[in-house]
């Protein structure tokens, strides 16, 4: 009977192909949306993991989060180095990690920070060691892969966040790669980490306390020295929930500081983008239903022409369930082919998009990652195909064989 279904489908190949493509487009749209939004949210969550609050210069809180947590926007400005010490003195602050941004090397951002930043992002060394002295750098996995830089490699940072190669460059202050990180699937893969002092040095700012490189040195030592040294942002991890309530207000009362909570800003951003995603999602569902309707119409007309055939099948011994099964399998084969093609298409488009748009790739779009929701989409598509086939099949089976034979003879 399956062979008979295939024979019928082959018999009207164009119709079959068109229906499969129609359903595939619907499935693909839904899969693309699902993968895109889930991977986006997943990436947002992963990058912001462990960061409870970001303190930076006043401006847009979203911009502050985007620039210092996700490294996609330009920073809001700088804050005095004292801020780090100020934060570390606050009760409930478990960790405060300064970031100094501003330079890049071949589109990869150079981040002046402390070794603790790598720990916070869950990164570990694939080779070499962490940076210790100024101008030593540790590169993320993707930086290593794309620039081909190995340990001992010297490079010169360029001013600015994006180009690096066309902007003014800091020729006199080369960095040296001392370590390479394992891939983490987070933003740190695309970063070049170095000491804050390196960033200052590159920009001709004298670090307060050049000689003190020890890890154990407390930040409190620094505050005694007034210095022009600044940081771009400070990532804060809370030690107690009270800090989450108390600290943002405290920070925002400081004249030139603002605090931003990644979770809040990201949900605001996703809410903005989400309206668009919902609209497209509704459209994709519509597309899939249209495909179901098309299969329904195609099978309905095909089965009408085949009423005689079906009566004949009954005459030569096919039972009602067998005929119902045959028609249902036709619908299911259509739906399954459409679903399979749609899944391939969806993942293919994601893969192509990631390959052709650097931004999407940086976002961590992965064509090979599967989402449990895809099973739901596939099941829905199969159900549509099955129902589209069964309704006309039942109609045909209602009719009287002797009459059908007489009429189509």
């Amino acid at each position: 009977m399956i062979r008979l279904s295939l024979a019928y489908l082959r018999d009207r190949a164009l119709n079959t192909a068109l229906n499969i493509i129609l359903l595939a487009l619907g499935v693909a749209s839904l899969v693309i949306l699902l993968l895109f939004s889930s991977q986006l949210e997943n990436r947002f969550d992963k990058d912001a993991a462990g960061i409870d609050m970001v303190v930076g210069a006043k401006g847009s809180p979203l911009q502050l989060i985007l620039s210092s947590v996700y490294h996609v926007d330009i920073p809001t400005g700088n804050v005095p180095l004292d801020t780090v010490a100020l934060l570390r003195r606050q009760m409930g602050v478990a960790q405060a990690i300064p970031l100094a941004l501003g330079d890049s090397f071949r589109t990869f951002r150079i981040v002046g920070t402390e070794p603790a930043y790598a720990d916070l992002m869950g990164a570990s060394l694939a080779g070499g060691r962490l940076f210790a002295a100024p101008m030593e750098a540790v590169i993320g996995a993707e930086v290593a892969a794309r620039t081909g830089a190995g340990l001992g490699q010297r490079f010169v940072g360029g001013h600015g966040m994006t180009g690096g190669d066309d902007g003014p460059r800091h020729e006199e202050q080369p960095f040296i790669v001392v370590g390479r990180l394992k891939p983490t699937g987070t933003v740190i893969d695309r970063l070049i980490l170095t000491r804050i002092e390196s960033v200052w040095a590159v920009h001709g700012i004298e670090a307060p306390h050049d000689e003190h490189d020890h890890e154990g040195e407390s930040a409190a030592d620094h505050e005694a020295h007034a210095s022009p040294a600044e940081v771009t942002a400070v990532l804060v991890r809370f030690g107690s929930p009270i800090a989450a309530v108390r600290l943002p207000g405290f920070i925002n009362r400081q004249t030139n500081l603002q605090s931003a909570v990644p979770a809040v800003e990201v949900s605001r951003l996703l809410a903005l983008v989400g309206v668009g995603l919902d609209a497209v999602r509704a459209f994709a569902v519509l597309l899939m239903l249209t495909a179901g309707l098309s299969i329904f119409v195609a099978l309905l007309t095909a089965l009408k022409e085949r009423e005689g055939d079906m009566a004949m099948l009954r005459v030569i011994g096919a039972s009602r369930p067998a005929i119902l099964g045959q028609v249902a399998s036709e619908g299911l084969i259509l739906a399954a082919a459409g679903t399979a093609l749609g899944l391939v298409l969806g993942h293919g488009v994601i893969g192509l998009a990631a390959a052709n748009f650097a931004q999407l790739q940086q976002m961590g779009l992965n064509a090979l990652a599967f989402h449990p929701g895809e099973a739901v989409i596939a099941a829905a598509a199969l159900a549509i195909g099955l129902f589209a086939a069964l309704i006309p099949a039942f109609r045909v089976l209602q009719s009287d064989i002797a009459d059908t034979l007489a009429n189509s003879r």
Binding site: R3, L4, A7, Y8, R10, D11, G308, D309, M312, L313, R314, V315, I316, G317, A318, S319, A322, I401, A402, L405, A406, R409
Partner: protein, 211 residues
Amino acid sequence: METRGLSHVRDGRTVMQIGDWQLQPRAHALLLGPSGSGKTSFINIATGLLTPSHGSIQIAGQPMSALPPASRDALRRQTIGLVFQTLRLIPALSVSANLALAQQLALGRVDAAEIDRLIARVGLSHRAHARPRQLSQGEGQRAAIARALATRPRLLVADEPTSALDDANAAAMIDLMFETADATGATLLVATHDGRIAHRFANRLNLVAPA
């Protein structure tokens, strides 16, 4: 085959009246009568597609008209091969696939050698893989006979098998049906208003349009 007091009423009008009649195994019979005399109704009743309003009919010792639908299907599947006037092959399948499907449905297995033999017997070996719509009228009819015989039926029922054919083809068709029925041990029941083939049958059942 044996009928008792068989008649059929449709929309308040008697469309077929046979009464008592018997057909012995291998005694090929002709069902003769003008249009509207109830030939098709009788065939539908004999094959269990239609329930008679009066009387009963036995096929191979079983009360076809009294069986529930599923058992009728089974009885028809196991004992009867049907040939209709036109088409009745599945257009999406080749000739040999049509035969294979019939075997699969009736016997639950496919006997490829038997299919080849039957197709050769009706002279269609060169067209075994052609689609039904590529066949000529005569070729299609021969294929339909082969399909009806593929299940090795004990009763081969043909409804107007020759009315669309010219004299030579009609004669050839009857020859073929006799020959194949004898070869497979089947009993023939042919309904027709075609006088050209009437002389070939020893048994006749003459139907008249009921008043």
